[in-house]
Structures are given as structure tokens and as C-alpha cells.
Amino acid sequence: MLASLIGFLGDFDLAEEAAQEAFVVAAERWPRDGAPANPGAWLVTTARNRAIDRIRRDRTLAAKTRLLELPETTEEPVDETTIADERLELLFTCCHPSLQLEAQVALTLRTLGGLKTEEIARAFLVPDETMAKRLLRAKRKIKAAGIPFRVPPDHLLPERLAAVLAVVYLIFNEGYGGRIDLAAEAIRLGRALAELMPDEPEVHGLLALMLMNDARRDARFADGSVVLLADQDRSLWNTEQIAAGRAGLERALALGGRGPYVLQAAIASLHLEEPQDWQELTALYSELARLTGSPVADLNRAVAIAEAGDIEAGLALAERLELERYHYLHATRAELLRRLDRADDARAAYDRALELVHSDAERLFLERRRAELQG
């Protein structure tokens, strides 16, 4: 509802106020007159009319007068497709590249996720006030700088869609680290996006990726430590979600998708099989690294090469990567060095990984591994 109003009014604050007023009117009338046939549409229409009344009263604010040029709204309910389109437009507005990434994430969660400012602040470990200011600044910029409310035209779409997907995936990964609510929120956003843009393979790819990774959530931790994929209790995996993820991946591939999210979903799917096809995984990580230029993809390729049998080659690749401050690099080197019986080098690599790691569950895992070293 809020998305629909913001899309129509071009103003976050006005939309929020109007929505609140509509709820107040509903609280008065519905018990007395009975609820309307389509309560959602009724609320949107009422809020729109309230907002227009307010704008008329508020003529001194020149910026809002342009809204008066819009056709008179009638009592006709808004149909659902309009609302869907407006949600999509709003998502592109929230993820506009002229806003800071943190602001894009916060705005998306606030306006499309419906999270409260305090909830977002808690999720990102910043004070409520900081988050409120961040949101306010972003809303002001949208208005003052004229950031459009629309789905970008075709020539801008790939780039802008990538920005939207990056925000959703970032929200998911914040949640994947343990804050479960955000992962669920990201999946909800991904589902909405897949409904709104059914022909975009990358959208299905991202949703599939999130579903398959999230399906292993309950198996990823035990006794406060991370559990590696190979050691996870598969009975804890959410098979329904895995099936939904694989169906999404199929759809993305059928649409001709071969972008970064489709590749990552394909990789996630292969990782759920036993035994894993490390040759195929190596090929997919190669393609991902080529496509994104990401050294993290290369690090994963190094692991796949080692798992496929050539530990020396995997280690050599890992050691060429410029990821000195990335704890997974050192954790990977440590593991490969251990397998090559180079215990001293492995110990040094574990030490470096432990210096850089933030999560307690990963720290515990690394400490255990280090203690297991022989010699």
C-alpha cells in the first residue's frame, strides 16, 4: 500500500502520513459500516484522496503543487496490477545508484520490506538515530535531486537491475551470518521481484541462490561453531526450499540466463549433491570469475581444483590472489597446507585467519582445526 502511494505521490513522508490517516478512517468506519469488498484498494484510494486534500491545503509548498496537475482520483478502487507495478518502480527508486549503498539497503527494507526504522538499525548495528537520519537524508535526496519513480528504460535496465539485485543479496547475506529475519526478508523481496519481472533470468537466479543457501541454515551451526558443508546433517536441510530453488534455477536457465546469479545458483545446486561434481564446479567458478572479475570466485575455484584432486594447483592459485585481508583466503590455504602435511605453514595460515575473522562461530571452528594439526 505504501509503495503504491509513494509511487503516486512521489513523496515518502506524504505517503506515510496519508496511509496513517486512511487507517484511522478505516478504524472508525469499518466496524460501523462493515469492511469494503477490497480493503487494500479501499485504503489506497482513501489515502490518495486524503493526500490530495492535504496537498490542496498545503499550497505554499511549491514542490508539491505539481501533484495538482494529476487527474482527479475517483472512488474507483486501484487494481492489483497497478500496485504491483508501483512496488517495482519504488524498488528501482530505492536502489538508485545516486544513493549510498547503505541508504539503498535501508530504504528498501523500510519501504518495501515494511521494517521499522529501529529494526533496521538493530540489524545493521547502528543507533536508531543514525538510521533515522540516513533514511531521512535519502528521502530528501530522492525528492530534491529528482530521482525518477519508474522502471528504467531498456538501455539502463541491466545496470539498474544489477543494483537492485545487489541490494537484495546484501540484505540476504547480512541475514545469512546469523540474523535470520533479514534473510527471510531478502527472500520475500526476491519472490516479489520474480513475480514482477518473470522474464529476467538473473532475478530467478538470485531467488534460487538465496533459497538453496537458506535451506541449509539449520545445519550450518552446531555447538556455536560453523559446520562445513561436507559435515552437515542433511536431515536438517529444508528439502522443500531446495526444490523451489532448483525449480527457479531451471526457469532461469530456460530463459537463457548465464549471468552471475544464475551461475551462483547453479553452483549452490551442485554443492547440494553428493558426491559433488568438482570438475563441473571448477568450470562454473571459472566462468563466474571471468564474468565478475572477483578474486573471491577465484578462491572458490582454487578450492574446487584442490577437491577435484590437484591440491598443489589449488594452493598455487590461492596464493596468487590479492585477498590478503580476507580470512577465508588464509583458512583455505591452511586447509590445503594441512592436506599437504605442511603443518607449520598451515598453523601460520590459521593464525593469520584468526587475526582477521569476526564471527565467533568461525573463530571457534578455526581454533579447533588449528588444534588438530599434527607435528
Binding site: 511549491a62 538508485h96 545516486s98 530534491a144 535531486a145 529528482g146 530521482i147 525518477p148 528504467p152 539502463l156
Partner: protein, 119 residues
């Protein structure tokens, strides 16, 4: 909406620096002139002014009633304003598109897009 597009040359070669400008091929030089010309003729664009290089700037401050002048621009030389024009557009995306056609933006400089206050 009106936007001012502020052109920062950064390390982009300009005719004021004959050495750097001379390293561009004849074709590249012509393309720079042609691109600025095309921008000025774009519907919605009000041609602005091109400024002399930042080395020619004098910065003025008044402290306790006395005027202090210093050589050079207010910001660092590489960050200084090189010129500007105004673009009347529907939204920020349209302004970004025009900004991306400014030669300085692809040659080591940047264009800042700022909405203009309108009453």
C-alpha cells in the same frame, strides 16, 4: 527540473595544457570539440561558461574585516571547477545521461550533477 552540470577536468587534457593536449590525436581533439558542441545543441541544455584553468584562480576570504587573497582555487587544483552548463530535464536519469556525454567525464575528470533551487 533544472540541473547544473559542473565539469571538473581532473586530469583530462585541455587546450590550456599544450603538452597534454598535444598527446591526443587530431581525431581525439576534434571529437572533444564536437562532443561539447553537440551538448550545447542538445534540447534542454542552456550553454554555460568555460572557465580558464584553475591555476588562474584567486581565492578571497574576509577575516576580521580584512581581505585575504590566496593564489589558486578554493579546492585542490585537480578538484577545481572547469566549466558548467544547465540542463532542464524530467528527472535525474536524464541529467546523468547528458553528464555521461561530457568528454571530461571519460578523460580523467568528472561531472557533478546538482539540482538547481527553483521558486
Amino acid at each position: 527540473m533544472k540541473y547544473m552540470l559542473l565539469i571538473h577536468q581532473g586530469s583530462a587534457p585541455t587546450p590550456y595544457d599544450q603538452d597534454a593536449w598535444g598527446r591526443l590525436s587530431e581525431d581525439e581533439q576534434q571529437a572533444v570539440y564536437a562532443d561539447y558542441q553537440a551538448l550545447n545543441e542538445t534540447p534542454g541544455v542552456s550553454p554555460g561558461l568555460q572557465l580558464q584553468p584553475p591555476e588562474t584562480a584567486t581565492t578571497v576570504r574576509v577575516e576580521n574585516g580584512s581581505t585575504l587573497t590566496t593564489d589558486g582555487p578554493f579546492v585542490a587544483i585537480k578538484e577545481a571547477l572547469g566549466g558548467y552548463f544547465v540542463f532542464d530535464a524530467d528527472d535525474l536519469d536524464a541529467a546523468i545521461e547528458v553528464a555521461s556525454r561530457v568528454p571530461a567525464a571519460r578523460m580523467g575528470g568528472a561531472v557533478e550533477v546538482r539540482p538547481v533551487v527553483e521558486y
